[in-house]
Amino acid sequence: MTDGGGLRLTGLVKAYGPVRAVEGVDLDVPAGELVTVVGPSGSGKSTMLRLIAGLERPDAGMVAVGGQDLRDVPPHRRSVAMVFQDYALYPHLTVRENIMFGLRVRKVPKGEARRQAGAAAERLGIADLLDRYPDQASGGQRQRVALARALVRSPAVYLLDEPLVSLDAQLRLSTRADLLALHRQIGSTTLHVTHDQAEAMTMGDRVVVMDAGRIRQAGPPQEVYDAPADTFVAGFLGSPPMNLVPGGGVLGGAAGGTVGVRPEDLALDPAGPIEATVDAVETLGSEAVLLTRCPDGLRLAVRTPPRLSLRPGDTVRLRFDPDRLHRFDAAGRRV
């Protein structure tokens, strides 16, 4: 269905008064790629999507889809569909009318619009809801209606702004799989904003980490995880996040810089070089996370097997894998 529209953002800037929401974003998404965008609250993720959709005008920079500069193209002429976090379904219209809305606005004949709405609903497994109103559908179903509404536009680019955030964990997992399957089927360029670590790591061909209106790093999830470009990305991706030790400390000196180690790269070892006291044990079923504290006050999280019967107050010794240390310079950049 797609007409091979890749997405390119160049030097995108948007400020709301004094708030610089997006500060020079460059991003190149080849046609058909699914990119997840993560970043703390207020880092400009939604604003970036809104700029791409044309709901906001950039102060500077360019949005191009399929090589076409969209500067003077109004939102509905961009081949871009957006799914909002809160779905934005029309409460006074049935599910079918919601899906048909854009088609009817674009003067697609009623019969044809109904057929397309039916097909989209079929595809997303909500065909039996077509005559209900949004408030008679569950959160997950509404989410699918919003997706169906985007689907009938058959756009070149899908913008999904935290579409799974209001679903419970179970539903989120299954919808995530459905979304991926759908993306594989229609293969259109997709930007997927999420807060969820697991989504960020598993869904995208690439993950983009944003902070304060800038892209801190973009790359395949495993690559970003293994080689974070700076201390921000290191501390943001991963749960629990990477242990960052300013100055190096117990991980070996790094004058002026910072040394980091992932919790899974620390291990309990009676002969290990680091001594620490257990502050707390977080049991996750298949594994456990020890929150420990070194004598100098430094806190280290350690990923361990479950059922170690350690208690807060116990003293442990830790070993780390020198090859898996991450070194950052004084400005926080990876060295």
Partner: protein, 293 residues
Amino acid sequence: MTRAKGERSLSGWAFLAPYAVAVVLLIAVPALLNVGYAFTDHTGLTRDPQFVGLDNVRRLADDAFLADSLEASLFHVALSVPLRLLAAVGLGLLLAAPRPGGRWFRTAVYLPTVVPDVALAVLFLWVLNPLYGPLNQLLGLFGHPGYTWLSDPTTARVGVVLMLLFPIGEGFVVVLAARRLLDGRLYEAAALEGCGPFGQLRRITLPLLAPVLVLLAVRDTILTLQVNFVPAYVLTDGRPANATLYLPVYIFDQAFEFSGFAYAALITILLMLITAAIIAVQLLAVRRWRVLR
């Protein structure tokens, strides 16, 4: 447990009491008395009114003044309710969005509602003055000779409607508030689909506001059938040729000028029935829409 519950509901009644007493004494009792008086020869002056059966009702049938009065009232409702709604909804929607100076415009729209209606009516005596009134001068700018507003039956009625187009602050505020409650995302989603401002008005705003609009129409019908008393009294005193002898005016005349207390009581009942009938028609008409789903 039950005791505490009993005390709770007792204190509830205690809180309700002042209001309930006032409603009973000031509204329910007079309304019942009114129904009773309608079938007597009460003049408002005599001490003991006599029951006269349906005499007053028979009198309704061939009361030429009443026919004029009914016609005036219906004309007024038919013109004033739609126009007042249109003004309140139009201004409410226009001024709901935040824009520079918006609060001054909103205040300006609400202001006439705060002005006592007698004062507004006196102002309109001037506005509608055929010789030096601003309205005729305005028409003059377009080469129109102007009207002798209050001495011609039709323009007198229009004049009253014009005046009542200004105190629309309450409906305006309701529309403003209701519009602001609508989710801005819906409009963004619509814009993404290529739905322009008028499409958004037609496909989103009006359908979502429909319950509020129906409520306003019903309320304005009730109000409009009654509030034309003051302008009619100040501007025209029911003239010319009974053109503005609206039902409230006629009721007042009967009750306090002709001492037809009982007959006036009967016409108030008639006014109530007419109001109920118009509202019933409105509600039936909007049942087709899904607004009251």
